[in-house]
């Protein structure tokens, strides 16, 4: 009798599994030599211990007693001495903080002259210099970390630099909207172009330019490119070869056009960062309140979604970034927090 009941219960369960409503693991296929990973919504390691943030310090958001007051902190990088440089998008100023978050000084500011910035969103620190993707002025601004401006760099491949990193001893410069050419380019230390990463798709309609809206994160073996408005993440090797593409199941109501294509109305991805092991952390928007973006999901270097790593204790993340010591810097624009990432036992 028990056996019959067990068999009868197994049938609906197998139906549920067959209908795909429970997909526990990522599905990996290969297409033209590219690894294609279709991830479940919660990840392969959703039941394993998650991570937890331990706040080391947080700025108050008010400009008092050596505390930085940001309007829209959008990016941060650290030097070898542990100092942190923070770019405020609203003022285009870069504030230098010591390792404990106290203000040491300010650099740059909005303008068109040498050393001034416009619409900058990213910079990178390298050997005592800050290289700023000076998008509105169409150049790479070079500043000593004391603030002194050096001759800027003009790139024929990237007219409006949006992103800049140092990776594998080279510079990587990307476009936030990629209309033509490639999404990002790799340059030697003396600014000779080495390769283009991810060629642009043909733009058939003006709205297609929105589909190229992207943010990138470098890792040791290549560059992650996140389409900010679509559910698509790709990784390209430094030689320009596409390594993988991945996604996360989203039960979101995306508006669609007459051809069934998703209209890029809602931000899917907000920001990303890569830890020292090469794992990718991605901040996702929240489908029930698309202005909210604080859930961080973690992908393995091979594109498998591992799990929802943690939720940032802010409503809307403008940036997340691992510093050189492996601590996480994150901001909601007004405040900046430095936290260590701990595995929950």
């Amino acid at each position: 009798m028990r056996r019959e009941i067990g068999l009868a219960l197994l049938l609906p369960l197998s139906l549920m599994l067959a209908s795909g409503c429970i997909r526990a693991k990522a599905e990996v296929t290969e297409r033209d030599g590219v690894r294609v990973v279709s991830n479940s919504a919660e990840g392969d390691e959703r039941d394993r211990p998650h991570e937890r943030l331990h706040t080391l310090w947080k700025t108050t958001g008010t400009n008092v007693a050596g505390q930085p007051g940001f309007e829209a902190a959008l990016w941060a990088d650290s030097d070898r001495g542990g100092n942190i440089y923070v770019l405020d998008h609203a003022t285009q100023r870069i504030t230098k903080l010591d390792a404990s978050g106290r203000v040491l000084g300010q650099l740059a500011g909005r303008g068109e002259k040498p050393g001034q910035l416009s619409k900058s969103e990213r910079f990178t620190w390298s050997d005592g210099y800050l290289y700023v993707a000076n998008g509105g002025n169409g150049r790479i601004e070079v500043l000593r970390d004391s603030g002194e401006a050096l001759p800027p760099i003009q790139l024929s491949e990237v007219k409006a630099p949006g992103e800049i990193y140092v990776a594998n001893g080279n510079f990587v410069v990307g476009k936030r909207f990629a209309r033509d050419g490639s999404y990002a380019y790799v340059y030697t230390p003396d600014w000779k172009v080495r390769s283009g990463l991810r060629k642009t798709d043909p733009i058939a309609a003006p709205i297609d330019i929105l589909r190229t809206h992207n943010t990138t994160c470098p890792s040791s073996d290549g560059l992650w490119i996140l389409s900010m408005l679509e559910n698509r993440i790709e990784k390209y090797g430094w030689d320009g070869r596409k390594l993988l593409e991945t996604s996360r199941d989203l039960d979101w109501d995306f508006p669609k056009d007459a051809r069934g294509r998703v209209l890029p109305e809602l931000l899917v991805h907000r920001a990303c960062t890569v830890d020292r092991a090469g794992n990718l952390y991605v901040v996702y928007s929240n489908p029930e309140n698309w202005k909210r973006g604080n859930e961080v999901y973690k992908f393995a270097p091979d594109g498998r979604l591992l799990q929802k790593a943690f939720e940032l204790p802010i409503l809307n993340a403008t940036m997340i970034r691992f510093d050189r010591d492996g601590n996480l810097l994150y901001s909601d624009g007004r405040t900046l927090t430095k936290a260590s990432v701990e595995r929950v036992p």
């Binding site: 009868a8 049938l11 000076n134």
Partner: protein, 200 residues
């Protein structure tokens, strides 16, 4: 015989359990569907709100009759009778949206003493190049720092926005650009004529 009855009983119980299991499964699916419908409604509402145009006519109506509010005091220039001030954003507005408005008002300048003037914020050399190459040939433009922020503080949520004022007094007479079908239409100017009143 008893074996057949036993099998019949087993089949019946099995069928009952199968039906019960299916019901549970269906109930779960139904609940998930309901949750999805709720979240879809929220997302659709958020998208609709994000793209809902602000109540332009109410704002414009509130501005008519006021005196020139933005950045310049009224002063007749070279005998011009009307000031057409076009506030626009090089960041957000499509270029053709701005140039269409400018061309519409430029088309009126042959019929009346109209001074068409643009105001915008220039952020970066790339925006300056667009301004110099595409817009300055059409009309004079004055740069205003943080224009979008200042307009927003005044209640202007969108650009380009047009204010036509009496050059002598600064009173705002008209806030619309003429429709494309009204290009060069004298009735637009006649309407302006009727609106001129001393500014309090």
């Amino acid at each position: 015989m008893s074996s057949a009855a036993d099998w019949t009983r087993r089949i019946l119980i099995g069928a009952l359990v199968l039906v019960a299991g299916s019901q549970v499964y269906l109930a779960q699916q139904n609940r998930a569907l309901k949750q999805r419908v709720v979240s879809q409604s929220a997302a659709v509402a958020a998208v609709a709100d994000a793209h809902k145009p602000p109540d332009r006519s109410a704002y414009e109506a509130s501005m008519q009759g006021q005196c020139q509010p933005f950045f310049e005091t009224a002063a007749p220039k070279n005998g011009k009778r009307y000031d057409v001030s076009i506030y626009f954003s090089l960041e957000r507005d499509c270029m053709s949206c701005v140039t269409d408005v400018v061309r519409q008002w430029n088309s009126m300048t042959g019929q009346a003493a109209i001074d068409v003037h643009g105001y915008t914020r220039v952020d970066g050399t790339r925006a300056r190049a667009v301004l110099e190459q595409e817009l300055r040939p059409l009309f004079p433009v004055t740069e205003i720092d943080d224009l979008e922020v200042k307009l927003k503080a005044m209640g202007v949520q969108y650009t380009p926005v047009v204010f036509v004022s009496d050059a002598a007094t600064g009173r705002i007479l008209f806030t619309h650009a003429p429709l494309p079908s009204q290009l060069g239409d004298r009735r637009v100017l006649e309407k302006l004529q009727t609106l001129i009143q001393p500014c309090a």
